[in-house]
């Protein structure tokens, strides 16, 4: 019977490559994306998944304090969405 710490970290160790594959696919779409909304959408999905991945990685690193980064990432990517949307819709961003 292996210890809890070892079990959890081994589990995450095998999860990391899969996440990296998913990220590379997102990045391909983000760099390729024929239209502007495509790029933003890919960044969006990438970043929300990255936030989840950062939380999981902070368990892997045994450093719980790394978690605060995830929420900031999620918040600011939302605002990126919002102002790209506003850019496409409005005449001036302040209106």
């Amino acid at each position: 019977m292996i210890g809890l710490e070892e079990q959890v970290t081994t589990y995450i160790l095998y999860a990391i490559p899969i996440y990296m594959i998913a990220f590379s696919l997102y990045i391909v779409r983000a760099l390729k994306g024929p239209t502007i909304p495509d790029i933003v959408l890919a960044i969006d999905a990438l970043t929300y998944d990255l936030a989840a991945f950062l939380v999981i990685l902070s368990i892997f690193f045994r450093s719980p304090i790394l978690i605060a980064t995830a929420i900031v990432l999620a918040l600011w990517v939302y605002s990126l969405d919002i102002y790209v949307a506003k850019y496409l819709e409005a005449r001036e961003l302040g209106e």
């Binding site: 304090i65 605060a68 918040l75 605002s79 102002y83 949307a85 819709e89 302040g94 209106e95």
Partner: protein, 277 residues
């Protein structure tokens, strides 16, 4: 005008040049072994000194290494970093001086993004500010601090500005002048916190240093590092709180200035005035 192909050639040759340079320098300058097996000696000093109850006269008494460097060991840097940000905003205001923007009577319902986004923004507002405050107020314990908290708090006015409109937020009291007052108060607080130990020590006639936090061997005055068993890191807590206010207000000023419609600026430009050679 250059063609894209030529640009590409220039870029690639430049990149190659830098790459070759880097090969020499990266290995030589950054140390032969990458990454080094141990941190530098000075770093291990910082790490040992940042929170060390056994050396009360030589410790910043905050477990967060970066925050204690930022506001205690190298507080002067951070004060002037804040000054740079402040002066940039002052310069921007100076460019936009005299531009008021006007409280036009507009139909707010028509402006901004869709109703769904507006509702979501309204609900999440409180949560965003709570998270930002938590990041700032735990800056001496966990990663984060004044700037981080302030930057996160600045999301709130920013998305209000974008999702609703600048008329909406100015009606609710977020105007350039209130933000400027808030910012000045925050900066004044930072400045006073830098001097507070000196001022306290002046009363008792003891020597003290600017930006001093904890007592030192030759300067016995200091701020209490805990209140009622909760760590506050002495001056770090005050720095973080004031910095958060200042940064959030500063970002808001920037976006308010950027959101003023071009017609207003053009009006001022046409009027001119005030300049002399």
């Amino acid at each position: 005008m250059r063609t894209t192909k030529e640009n590409l050639v220039i870029a690639i040759s430049m990149a190659l040049f830098v790459l070759l340079l880097s090969l020499v320098l990266a290995v030589g300058g950054l140390g032969y072994i990458l990454p080094p097996p141990q941190v530098r000696l000075i770093a291990s000093w910082y790490l040992r000194v940042t929170f060390n109850p056994f050396e009360r006269l030589f410790s910043a008494m905050a477990p967060e290494g970066v925050t204690s460097i930022v506001w205690d060991f190298r507080g002067l840097d951070t004060l002037f970093e804040t000054t740079v940000f402040y002066l940039a905003i002052i310069g921007s205001i100076a460019i936009a001086r005299g531009v008021i923007g006007g409280h036009k009577e507009v139909d707010e319902k028509k402006l901004g993004l869709s109703l769904i986004v507006k509702s979501v923004t309204r609900i999440s507002l409180g949560m965003i500010l709570a998270v930002a405050a938590s990041i700032a107020l735990h800056g001496h314990l966990t990663p984060g601090g004044g700037f981080q908290g302030g930057a996160s708090a600045a999301v709130a006015p920013l998305i209000l500005l974008v999702v609703f409109s600048r008329y909406f937020i100015e009606k609710h009291g977020i105007t350039k002048n209130t933000m400027l007052i808030l910012r000045s108060i925050g900066l004044f607080g930072i400045g006073m916190t830098a001097f507070i130990v000196v001022i306290i020590a002046l009363a008792s006639g003891a020597p003290a240093f600017v930006f001093q936090n904890q007592p030192k061997t030759i300067a016995p005055t200091g701020m209490p590092f805990e209140i009622g068993g909760a760590l506050t890191g002495g001056t770090l807590w005050f720095f973080n709180v004031f910095e958060m206010v200042a940064v959030a207000a500063g970002f808001t000023i920037i976006f308010l200035l950027l959101a003023i419609p071009e017609e207003e600026y053009k009006k001022i430009l046409r009027l001119g005035g005030g300049e002399h050679e």
